[in-house]
Structures are given as structure tokens and as C-alpha cells.
């Protein structure tokens, strides 16, 4: 299942249980703004992703598991807490390209 399907599953569970976005967000343990954005197809960070999976009752393995990059980049990121799939992919390629060109001895 593609990660973007998280939004569809959230909406389905909300509809089935009659929960508004704020009530659902309280149950998940994240802000309603973040949950609303994920429901629209934006991707959460890993911490929120895990909370949403727990709330949905999905084993995290049921969603494609995250495969760490060969050499996991260590990053501080100043950005929106969620991103569109296109942006998340472009950011990943930017970081991977930068890491490949930025060896330890470059000081």
C-alpha cells in the first residue's frame, strides 16, 4: 500500500466512527492541522506516522516499511511538518545528493 493511502484510511475510519478531525486528532495524539494535512495526502514525519498507524490499527509493516538509506543521513530540517509526495521525494534526492558530495574531510 502506498504511503499516500494513509489519508484515505484516516477518512474511512473517521467516517465509520463519526469522528470530527479534532476529535480524531486528540485520539491519535497529534495536532488537528497535521492530521488534516495527512488526510489530504501530505506525508507526516516518522513519529506522527507511527501514531497514525497505531490509531488505525495497522501494523507498521503493513505499510511499506522505511528502508534506511545506505548511510543514514543525519539532518536538521527547517520545513513544514508535512509534505506532498513530490516534495518529500525531491527533498530526499536533495539530501542524498548533498550527502554524496559532502565527504567528512570537507571542512
Amino acid at each position: 500500500m502506498p504511503l499516500e493511502d494513509l489519508g484515505r484510511l484516516i477518512l474511512a475510519k473517521r467516517n465509520a466512527s463519526g469522528l470530527g478531525i479534532r476529535a480524531a486528532a486528540r485520539e491519535v495524539g497529534i495536532s488537528h492541522g497535521t492530521l488534516a494535512r495527512v488526510e489530504k495526502g501530505f506525508l507526516p514525519d516518522l513519529e506522527n506516522y507511527e501514531k497514525i498507524c497505531r490509531w488505525l490499527g495497522i501494523r507498521e509493516e503493513a505499510v511499506p516499511t522505511q528502508s534506511p538509506a545506505p548511510n543514514i543521513p543525519q539532518v536538521h530540517f527547517r520545513r513544514e511538518k508535512t509534505a506532498t509526495a513530490n516534495t518529500a521525494a525531491a527533498l530526499a534526492r536533495m539530501i542524498m545528493a548533498a550527502q554524496a558530495s559532502f565527504p567528512k574531510d570537507r571542512k
Binding site: 504511503l3 506525508l43 514525519d45 538509506a69 527547517r78 525531491a90 539530501i95 550527502q99
Partner: protein, 194 residues
């Protein structure tokens, strides 16, 4: 608002003074974060300067999704690289750079970046305390209390003061409010009442 560690704000003011001294600047002078980064041996790249990054990705990150991100810092051993969104205004870039320098100087543990099988980026966590500390550090470095007191005493309009220090008016006013310099000056004039 998150409570900062005891003594943290004072430490930031001392750091702002110390960096200006090392760079030969006045304690109340403007500090260009690009010069500070060079002094600290931190590399800065714009997306277009990253070798091997597809121009379509550069286009997406700097035009289509330019409001989605401001900057990223990569750590590799002792070396640090800041990637800056150079399509933002100069004042916003200054603030983003000072913020990222804060993460490096404060030795904040970076998050781990994972790439899903679909090629999407997911970060391991978002540390609110680290973000708050880096934000405060950036404000103190760009606009130390001594500098704020000086421009307010001289009656410089907020817009002119913000331009001089290379920050937005919003950042200038935020520092003015959060540092309590106005109250400090009013007390000295003997007109402050709790």
C-alpha cells in the same frame, strides 16, 4: 511556549558578544550569518550548487515548493553543511542560516532521514525543544540585547533597525517583545509600573 534551560538565554547573549569579538565587529554591530558560518567552517550550498541534483528537483524545491522548506543541515563527522533555500528573501535566509548554525553550535542531535521504497523522505522526529533553542539562538545572534537597547534608545524606527540588522520587522519586534528591553528602558526612566 516551551521553557528554555536555565541560563540558556544568557549563554546566547554571551555567544553573540563572543562571535562579534572574534570577527572584529562591534558588540552592537550587524552580524552576517554567512560570515559567521565561514568563521565556524560551515559550508553553505543552495540547491543548484549540489552536485548531481537533477535540475527538475532544483526547480521543484526552489519554485513549486519553495514555501515548504527553509534550510537543512547535514552532519558528517565534524563537518557541517547547510543547504539554504535561496529563493527566500535575504532576511528570511539570514534567520534560517542563524537558526541552523544554532543547531550546530548547540550540538543538537540531528534527526535521522529515511527514504521509503517509494523514494519519499521521512524524518525520524521533530524535536520541539531543539527548534525553540535554535530559534532563540538565531534571534540573539542577529539581534543581541545590547544592540536592541542601542537602537531603541536612539529612537530608530523598527523598519530601519530591522533593515540594518538584516532581519524582518516581525523578527525585530519578536525580539523586542520577548527580551523585555522596552520594560528595562522604561524602568530606567522611572515610569514603569507593574
Amino acid at each position: 511556549m516551551i521553557a528554555l534551560r536555565r541560563g540558556f538565554k544568557t549563554w546566547c547573549e554571551n555567544a553573540a558578544r563572543g562571535y562579534r569579538r572574534e570577527l572584529g565587529l562591534s558588540p552592537i554591530g550587524r552580524l552576517d550569518p554567512r560570515i559567521l558560518a565561514k568563521h565556524l567552517r560551515i559550508t553553505i550550498w543552495a540547491p543548484a550548487e549540489i552536485p548531481g541534483l537533477d535540475p527538475k528537483d532544483v526547480q521543484h524545491l526552489t519554485v513549486t515548493a519553495r514555501e515548504s522548506w527553509s534550510a537543512a543541515t547535514l552532519r558528517n563527522g565534524d563537518a557541517s553543511l547547510i543547504i539554504i533555500n535561496n529563493r527566500h528573501s535575504e532576511t528570511r535566509q539570514n534567520n534560517s542560516l542563524a537558526h541552523e548554525i544554532g543547531h550546530i553550535v548547540l550540538r543538537h542531535e540531528p534527526a535521522k532521514m529515511y527514504v521509503t521504497p517509494d523514494g519519499l523522505m521521512m524524518m525520524s522526529e521533530y524535536n520541539d525543544m531543539h527548534e525553540e533553542e535554535a530559534t532563540w539562538f538565531a534571534g540573539a545572534i542577529l539581534l543581541p540585547r545590547d544592540a536592541l537597547l542601542d537602537v531603541i534608545r536612539r529612537g530608530l524606527p523598527d523598519r530601519d533597525a530591522a533593515d540594518y540588522f538584516g532581519v524582518s520587522v516581525a523578527v525585530f519586534q519578536m525580539r523586542r517583545n520577548r527580551t523585555g528591553v522596552d520594560i528595562q528602558l522604561t524602568r530606567r526612566r522611572g515610569t514603569w509600573a507593574p
